[in-house]
């Protein structure tokens, strides 16, 4: 196992595109949270009646403990950026035919796929650490009440990590099946940004069906419901979405297992 990690690190550490995209991710996650934080401050710090009412109603979603939830939700919007790296890491292996060279040099197909799974795990860890740093900075700079429970909602770190791993695994599967980086990126981005959200909403609004929650990305989207200040516009719906999280933890775990089972299976079966 250590040898596989070492080999993957040799592949990644001098891969410029990896560091570029990680740099973009490192800017994007704080950036999106800073943006929403600024919007919040803009509205609530106005000395108007409306501003005061809003502040009273929504509280401060950027203070502890709700900061964990808010930052997790906003950060998760940009999952497609680390997904670019995941797709490139697998499609490069096919473009350069190094996937076959790794086998020729002495890896089994299972070891090759394990190496790729480690890449996805590594990215999940990096992105999660980034999330924790952003959440801590935003939480500490917005929490006046020293008695506030700073860690009570830190379990959102686990939910964020699970969602990230699940969605990056889907991106990986697209890369594995398509093998061409640009096509895989286009398919994943189109599906992530357009196709699935439309399909989920069409099912919900037109057919009054909840089947959309079992779509590959929506399954784990439900791990991070809209933050309280948005969700409470529909209090009943918000509570229901919070209650559904524990079920979606199970569904997401099942999806992750199925996704990787499929990836290992297809890699074992097909010619390189």
């Amino acid at each position: 196992m250590l040898n596989i990690i070492k080999t993957e690190w040799l592949k990644i550490k001098k891969y410029p595109a990896f560091w570029w995209v990680m740099g973009i991710t490192a800017l994007t996650y704080p950036g999106i949270n800073y943006m929403f934080h600024s919007v919040y401050l803009n509205i609530t710090q106005k000395d108007t009646q409306r501003g005061k009412i809003l502040k009273m109603l929504i509280g401060n979603p950027f203070s502890f403990p709700e900061a964990w939830h808010t930052v997790a939700y906003f950060s998760s919007i940009f999952i497609f950026i680390p997904a670019i790296v995941v797709i490139m890491l697998i499609t490069n292996e096919y473009t350069y035919k190094t996937s076959r060279q790794n086998i020729i040099d002495g890896w089994s197909r299972t070891q090759f796929m394990l190496a790729k799974m480690i890449d996805v795990l590594l990215l999940t860890v990096i992105v999660t650490v980034l999330f924790v740093i952003v959440a801590l900075i935003i939480g500490y700079t917005n929490t006046d009440d020293h008695t506030a429970s700073r860690w009570s909602m830190s379990y959102y770190t686990g939910l964020f990590a699970l969602q990230t791993f699940s969605q990056l695994s889907i991106a990986f599967t697209v890369g594995l099946l398509v093998r061409k980086s640009f096509i895989a990126l286009a398919i994943f981005t189109f599906y992530f940004i357009i196709l699935e959200p439309i399909a989920v909403n069409v099912l919900k609004i037109k057919f009054n069906s909840g089947a959309g929650q079992f779509f590959p990305l929506e399954i784990s989207q439900k791990l991070l419901p809209k933050p309280a200040f948005i969700g409470r516009i529909d209090e009943a719906g918000y509570q229901a979405s919070l209650a559904a999280v524990k079920y979606h933890v199970g569904y997401t775990f099942a999806l992750v297992v199925l996704t990787w089972f499929f990836c290992f299976w297809i890699n074992r079966r097909r010619d390189l």
Partner: protein, 292 residues
Amino acid sequence: MNNIAKSYGKIKALNGVSFEVPPGSVFGILGPNGSGKTTLLSIILDVLSADQGNFLWFGEQSSPEQRKKIGSLLETPNFYHYLSAVNNLKITNSISGRGDAEMMLAVLEKVKLYERRNSRFSTYSLGMKQRLAIAAALLGDPKVLVLDEPTNGLDPVGIAEIRDLILELSKKGHTIIMASHLLDEVEKVCTHVAILKKGTLLTTGDVNDVLVDDDLVEISAADTSVLSLVIKNYCNDIKITRDGNLLQIILPKGTAKLDDINSYCFSKGIVLNHLLFKKKRLEAKFFELTNN
């Protein structure tokens, strides 16, 4: 290798191919384009799975551990384009366990890439990429090498260097399995050959047995047409081809006696102005076998 078969849809790429590679041999796999050479090598390196048949490495079932002991170059040089030669060899070393940092530099020196060892693979010419692939195969001095078209993209000097390298490795007792369409190369370095056509094994064995199974004699006279008519009655098993003013006659192995041919022609009133015994070249044999 026992009864290896592989199909791509309706196309049979390999049709029950069986042969054994003697240890210490330089084994050439020959065949026209699309004859199944690379498919065969891909199967024994576990890149493709065979539809039927099996093969053994070192007398045992194939496994990743077995492949680690084999230096291989399959079809094209496969490396990470953004990494240098040294960093690519580090990956080869990390996966296979073959060689160490010192050996990496030694093999790069051997294939004349030492000066460019820190340049990215993407900046290499085709020949340099091929040299790096050969360096990776040589890493750790493996006892068995599988080389698919090893001289692809190399200049004449590079081709000669690879030929010398193969001969040097062969002298040291290494086993080399080599697919090539450069018959001249195969003829110069191989001790054994297998010839494939459309996925079927036509012949295999010691290169001298495969090569010299007929006698080839070149003759000419003032009137080639008359000579052609006369010589076809020389014996029953004669085959004649005409090349300009020269006639090439092929006789069963060991039956071509130049004195007898000369006397026969003279007795029929023909004076030969050219009479030459030629070892039948692999190229001729190859064309004959593959009907090209």
